[in-house]
């Protein structure tokens, strides 16, 4: 046994050595230290590309934007090298790949990622490393509470608040309920989102059930509970397949007359197709100018670029596009060398960026927390595609 521990330890060391060389990233690049103008500008993104929920379009869209910039000559002659990595929806992996990006790859900024937990896990590490992140689709609560991160999207929490606000104030639905699937430690954040709505409107939820988990497979009992309690509108925060399961289960029960208020993740072509007839009671939130509205001028450039780059047209692709576009604006405005420090400094001093894609201008600035997108539009299924319900932005009043 003595020998064995030795032998195996030796093997382990050998494996370690092999993997260091195999991946060829043993050398560490400093942030800008010694970087010349010929070197590409490394921009990173951490996304959940596999695992419990996958959001690949955001980083694909961001890549399309950077590719276009490169094709047009880059930033002052320097090309952008975009490195998109997968965190598998797993915190350990997220922590690991963030170090890979920052310590090994020498990223100057992060932009266009869409991850279940990147902000929460790495927010502190980003602050420490002096790097800034323009999250393409901020999902976990950490994205909206970190000095180093400012997402371009509304996010599920503010999204919940806006959805409830829209339902109670615009659609005038009086009996509202909420059922929340809690992934990671998001329970408090959803509670806060509902409280925020209560503070603005002075109204309360009939049912506020934050007890569903990713393991909850059958939603029927919850739907029945909503019906029995007399809910007229139900906010459900599930991802696309969960929402489809929810609406299908309601259809199986023959329930009609309750509005199902779902978040952006369900605002997809696949979902509207899957809903079929059952979709008539669904109301979905769009964090950006609704992508499905082909006539909108605000989304024209985005639509063309995505179609050209074969990126699926989704709300996530809008987030990635928006984040990358904002970063390019920032990079172009930097005078002098583009380093991690200069990018962060530029972002801290950023003037609000207006865009037709969002209802409120994008900001970064020196604040300790960022949530600049405080508006949404709403869409509903109509003959197998999404139709815009609210031509004007629903902006959340400050409370």
């Amino acid at each position: 046994m003595r020998k064995i521990s030795k032998g195996l330890a030796a093997g382990a060391v050998a494996l370690l050595a092999v993997s260091v060389t195999a991946c060829g990233s043993g050398e560490t690049k400093g942030s800008g230290g010694g970087a010349t103008s010929a070197d590409p500008i490394v921009v990173g993104a951490i996304s959940s590309l596999s695992g419990p929920a996958a959001f690949p379009e955001a980083s694909q869209a961001a890549k399309a934007v950077f590719d276009r910039v490169n094709a047009a000559g880059g930033i002052n002659g320097r090309k952008i090298s975009y490195v998109s990595v997968d965190d598998k929806g797993d915190p350990s992996t997220a922590a690991q790949v963030s170090r890979d990006l920052i310590q090994n790859k020498g990223a100057v900024a992060l932009a266009g990622g869409a991850s279940l937990l990147d902000c929460q896990v790495n927010g502190a590490f980003y602050s420490q490393s002096g790097i800034s992140s323009i999250s393409g689709t901020g999902i976990d609560p950490g994205c909206f509470t970190s000095p180093a991160i400012s997402p371009v999207n509304t996010g599920p929490f503010l999204g919940t608040t806006v959805s409830l606000y829209h339902a109670s104030e615009v659609l005038k639905i009086d009996k509202l309920c909420g059922f929340f699937v809690i992934l990671g430690g998001t329970s408090e954040a959803y509670k806060g989102a509902v409280d925020q709505w209560s503070k603005i409107t002075g109204k309360q939820l009939l049912i506020n059930d934050r007890s569903l988990s990713g393991n909850t497979t059958d939603y029927t009992p919850y739907i029945l509970r909503a019906r029995d309690a007399g809910c007229k509108g139900v906010v459900f925060n599930g991802t696309e397949p969960m929402s489809v399961g929810w609406v299908k289960a309601a259809q199986a029960q023959g329930i009609t007359g309750i509005k199902w208020l779902v978040l952006t993740s369900t605002y997809t072509d696949a979902a509207v197709k899957a809903f079929g007839d059952a979709g008539k009671d669904v109301v979905a939130l769009s964090e950006f100018e609704p992508y499905s509205d082909a006539s909108s001028t605000a989304t024209k450039d985005w639509r063309e670029l995505m179609t050209q780059s074969k990126v699926p047209l989704t709300s996530f692709a809008q987030g990635g596009y928006q984040a990358a576009t904002n970063l390019v604006t920032v990079l172009k405005g930097i005078k002098g060398d583009i380093t991690r420090e200069s990018v962060t400094a530029a972002l801290k001093a950023l003037q609000p960026i207006e865009s037709g894609m969002v209802g409120t201008p994008y900001t970064f600035g020196p604040e300790q927390a960022h949530a600049s997108n405080r508006a949404a539009k709403f869409v509903q299924p109509d003959n197998g595609s999404w139709k815009v319900m609210t031509p004007d932005w629903i902006r959340l009043p400050n409370a």
Binding site: A12, D90, P91, D100, G123, A124, I182, G185
Partner: protein
């Protein structure tokens, strides 16, 4: 043997520390971060190695223990508890211990697949709870703070490595105690473990507690490593993967645990570097585990085997049969040492033992004979405490044993051996003898016993012995504990006739040499005649005759019991 001493524990420890120092000095930060992840997995795996590798119980909830450890560290961090991370990690480990004990409780009644399913259910339930409860500080954005001493990723790697090494040292020291041996024995037979004087519940709970402790430590180290942990760190499926890797690598050895940890982290990393989907990693582990189970040897065990083969153990010499010396006439002592009164056992309406009275005098070899099904083994089980429903009383050297569990009776000086082979094959001869002795024995004593019962080399593994030798080994182990009474259940099964006769000779020496009375259950009447000063004949659960062998065996009712009515009447 010299070479083994040269790489003794101290040298290994120094070597391990040197490896850590070198790695910390030369490997880039990113790879050290991965190394820390590997160490976290290795710490957890070594905990799993106790329950699954040593004690042979399938546990599918190691991640739940990790989650608790991490939770405690996060909570202490939020509370700003004194001591800093290093103390918190320890507290996290300790906090997981009660959970381990709690989970060990079902293991006292549930075994094998039932236990596996319950631990899996527990993991799923724990998943629900941690997903719902969340980790302290996760939503308020308070990452676990590392003390300045281990703030950097390099320093943290050293910290994690030291935790692992300390754990490995502790594990080795524990492995040498009775508990360490008991876990291996438990895997083979709970009854034999108890009969050797070890409390089975205590051994099982200790295994789970230790496993949970290491799990908690790993969880604590993890939370310090990545600062913010969420429920996704501790998915049910990860517990399953951990088990699969533990099986593959043989995580009951420190080397196996570290190899498993390295595999778990670096195999997916290599795939990632090569642009291959990381899911191939799990597939590799699954195939590896199936392969391991096909050969029946984990990576570590395989190496152990090879190493042992290289060491060229002398093949088992045929057991020596001495010329029978001058026949010692068995003598009967006077003072009663084991007194059994009115012992009855009934299974439903079938009476297995009816009001059996029996007295074994001190320093006496006594035979207990009877045809098959007469109740001899039931008698042994009842006297040694294996049958809770038995009525009547058992007194050993004036002390009432009624109501005491098996291991307490064994510790009081009432030992037994089994009809079936119950010697755990994973131990060495010396290891088994030390365990069974239930007291500190010198090497000289072991040698003397090996010589007395003809056991051969002490370093040999039990698995290399034939059945006959294992039976003798079991007797030797029980005798080493210097019991007042030893009940031998057919010890000569598997021995050649000449060897049986020699064993009979040896047994006659036992009372004089060890001060032990022997109750010998045996079918071989010649052996009984040779060894015993007195016999008791049992039939249909009742004592039908008792007295000196020559006269007792000649009695017609004994013949009838043995041979059937016709023969006796003829």
């Amino acid at each position: 043997m010299r070479r083994v001493e040269a790489t003794g524990p101290a040298a290994q420890l120094v070597g391990a520390l040197a490896v850590i120092a070198v790695l910390a000095a030369v490997v880039p930060q990113y790879w050290l971060f991965l190394g820390t992840s590997a160490l976290v997995a290795a710490i957890s795996l070594s905990g799993l190695g106790v329950v699954t590798g040593r004690a042979g119980m399938i546990s599918l909830c190691q991640m739940s223990f990790m989650a608790l450890g991490a939770w405690v560290v996060c909570e202490l961090n939020v509370l700003g508890a004194p001591g800093g991370l290093i103390v918190w990690v320890l507290v996290g480990g300790l906090a997981a211990v009660p959970l381990g004990v709690l989970l060990g409780l079902p293991a006292l009644r549930l075994r094998g697949v039932h236990l596996a399913v319950v631990t899996l259910g527990f993991a799923a339930a724990a998943d629900v709870i941690i997903a719902a409860a969340g980790f302290p500080g996760a939503t308020t954005f308070q990452p676990v703070l590392r003390p300045s001493l281990i703030a950097g990723d390099t320093a943290y790697f050293v910290f994690a490595a030291l935790v692992f090494v300390a754990g490995a040292v502790a594990m080795r020291l524990l492995g040498r105690t009775r508990y360490g041996t008991a876990w291996r024995a438990l895997r083979f037979s709970e009854r034999a473990t108890a009969a050797a004087g070890m409390s089975v519940p205590r051994a099982k709970l200790a295994a789970f507690a230790l496993s949970a402790f290491f799990g908690g430590l790993a969880g604590g180290v993890l939370s310090g490593q990545i600062g913010v942990v969420t429920a996704q760190n501790f998915d049910t499926i990860d517990s399953l993967i951990l088990l699969v890797v533990a099986v593959m690598a043989g995580s009951e050895y420190a080397g196996g645990a570290i190899a498993g940890g390295v595999l778990m982290v670096f195999v997916p990393e290599i795939f990632r570097g090569l642009g291959i989907p990381q899911d191939w990693g799990s597939l590799v582990f699954a195939v590896g585990a199936v392969q391991t189970l096909t050969t029946g040897l984990s990576m570590s065990e395989d190496l152990v085997r090879r190493f042992r083969r290289r060491r060229a153990v002398p093949a088992q010499a045929p057991r020596r049969t001495d010329e029978p010396g001058p026949a010692v006439t068995p003598v009967k002592g006077e003072r009663p040492v084991l007194v059994v009164e009115g012992l009855s056992v009934a299974y439903g309406r079938i009476t297995a033992l009816a009001e059996v009275d029996l007295v074994v005098p001190e320093r006496t070899v006594m035979g207990l004979i009877g045809p098959n099904g007469a109740g001899k083994s039931t008698f042994t089980d009842a006297v040694t405490g294996f049958i809770p429903g038995a009525t009547g009383s058992v007194t050993l050297d004036g002390r009432k044993l009624d109501g005491l569990p098996v291991h307490r009776r064994a510790a009081a000086g009432l030992r037994r051996t089994f009809q079936q082979d119950r010697v755990p094959p994973g131990l060495t001869v010396a290891g088994f003898l030390r365990f069974s002795a239930h007291r500190r024995v010198s090497a000289a004593e072991l040698e003397e016993m090996a010589d007395f019962l003809n056991l051969g080399t002490l370093e040999r593994h039990v698995s290399e012995l034939d059945v006959g030798s294992r039976r003798l080994l079991e007797v030797a182990g029980a005798l080493l504990s210097r019991p007042k009474v030893i009940i031998l259940d057919e010890p000569a099964a598997g021995l050649a006739h000449a060897e049986s006769m020699e064993l009979a000779e040896r047994l006659t020496e036992v009372p004089g040499r060890f001060g032990t009375s022997v109750l010998l259950i045996e079918h071989d009447l010649e052996m009984v005649r040779r060894a015993c000063a007195e016999v008791v004949v049992l039939d249909f659960g009742q004592v039908i005759a008792a007295g000196p062998p020559a006269t007792t065996l000649a009695r017609p009712e004994v013949a009838r019991a043995y041979l059937g009515d016709e023969v006796a009447l003829a």
